[in-house]
Symmetry: C2
Subunit: 199 residues, 2 copies
DNA sequence: ACGATCGTCTACCAATTGGTAGAGAGATGA
DNA sequence: TCATCTCTCTACCAATTGGTAGACGATCGT
């Protein structure tokens, strides 16, 4: 049996650092220091920094997929309520751990190889979302539009608000408990209005 | 008279590189190479990398402020039309040069000093937007909500969609001329629906 | 009891980083 | 003409980067 605790601590620390500061800006030495170990131990568990990045991406993608998938499965029938449920499900991990979405965003700056791999991992989720939006638009239960672009826009809104503390600070928002609740509710209202069928 | 061409080319190249790949990931050597000059020439025009970053931020902020300000000034009275105008104004430079908004986003990873400075530069614009949203909500011409958070959400949507090519690629979007037009129109419809008063 | 394996370490290494010192070419003004 | 100023350069430098080689103690199966 392999002792996974060091390995997992490296993954966890790396996710937070990569997601908040960017992959290139974080050195193996810094990761090792945060974990409480030497750089060579990091390189023992992960053959290279690229390998580490790749595995961290896998972890982040898996976490997101699980959260969203569970929300999609357990949610009610009405599409607007369902989107509410997704927002509630994604919002907590996203805002409490911006590194998660930040890391996904980070992909676009990486070489195309890991980016392509991550995209493949998320693709089925994206496809399902697009098909779902298209069907609900067709049924008149969502505002009509290009379901692919609407999906991207909804994602951009959620990701953007969760990963841009500067924008929130600029409008005087603070990350208190009540602030978080207010932000979540405002986000829900925003997306609901954006997606509701035009009366 | 100072010959500004080298200096300005350094600024331009730096903006693109910093905005697309991140400040930490771009070396002075790389900037110099792209400009067609030696690193020491870069350090002649800018005392340090921090200095360069700071000036690049100033350039980016100034460009954005000019574009948005002009759109705000010249736009029609109805708030939804006005938002349309802003989208049209910001969309072109934002999507054709993602580095612009990407750089603004990059601020949150930097030390607080330049971040604070940039925030100060944009603050008046933000304040004006919030006051404007509040007034129009009060007048019933926009959906009611917390104007500060609504401003942040609108910004997040626009910035997010412009700086996340991965999300767009994931839904099969392509950056052709017609694709750009479709995206812009979908974004306008999305924001319009999100902000319109609830019937 | 003992060799093998596992996990972490120290000791290096070449390449790259941001930055300094100062030479030298070319224009300018007295 | 000559001193000065502007701009770019070559030559370095110390610190940090990702990565290799291999020693050392602990644990484990036999």
């Amino acid at each position: 049996m392999v002792d996974r605790s060091t390995r997992e601590r490296i993954l966890e620390v790396s996710l937070d650092l990569f997601g908040t500061r960017g992959v290139d800006a974080v050195s193996l030495d810094e990761i090792a220091r945060d974990v409480g170990v030497r750089k060579q131990t990091v390189l023992y568990w992960f053959a290279s920094k690229d390998d580490l990045v790749d595995e961290v991406l896998a972890v982040a993608a898996a976490e997101l997929v699980i959260v969203i998938d569970a929300a999609l499965r357990a949610a009610p029938d009405d599409p607007l309520d369902r989107i509410d449920a997704i927002v509630r499900a994604v919002f907590r991990p996203a805002v409490r751990r911006p590194a998660l979405l930040g890391l996904i965003r980070e992909v676009s700056r990486l070489d195309s190889v890991p980016a392509e791999r991550l995209r493949a991992r998320m693709q089925s989720l994206v496809d399902r979302a697009v098909v779902y939006l298209a069907a609900e638009m067709e049924a008149g239960r969502l505002r009509r539009g290009d379901p692919r672009l609407v999906a991207a826009l909804g994602y951009a809104t959620l990701t953007g608000i969760a990963t841009e503390p500067e924008a929130l600070r600029a409008v005087g928002w603070q990350a208190t408990a009540s602030g978080l609740r207010a932000l979540r509710d405002e986000l829900r209202a925003f997306l609901r209005a954006a997606l509701a069928p035009t009366g």
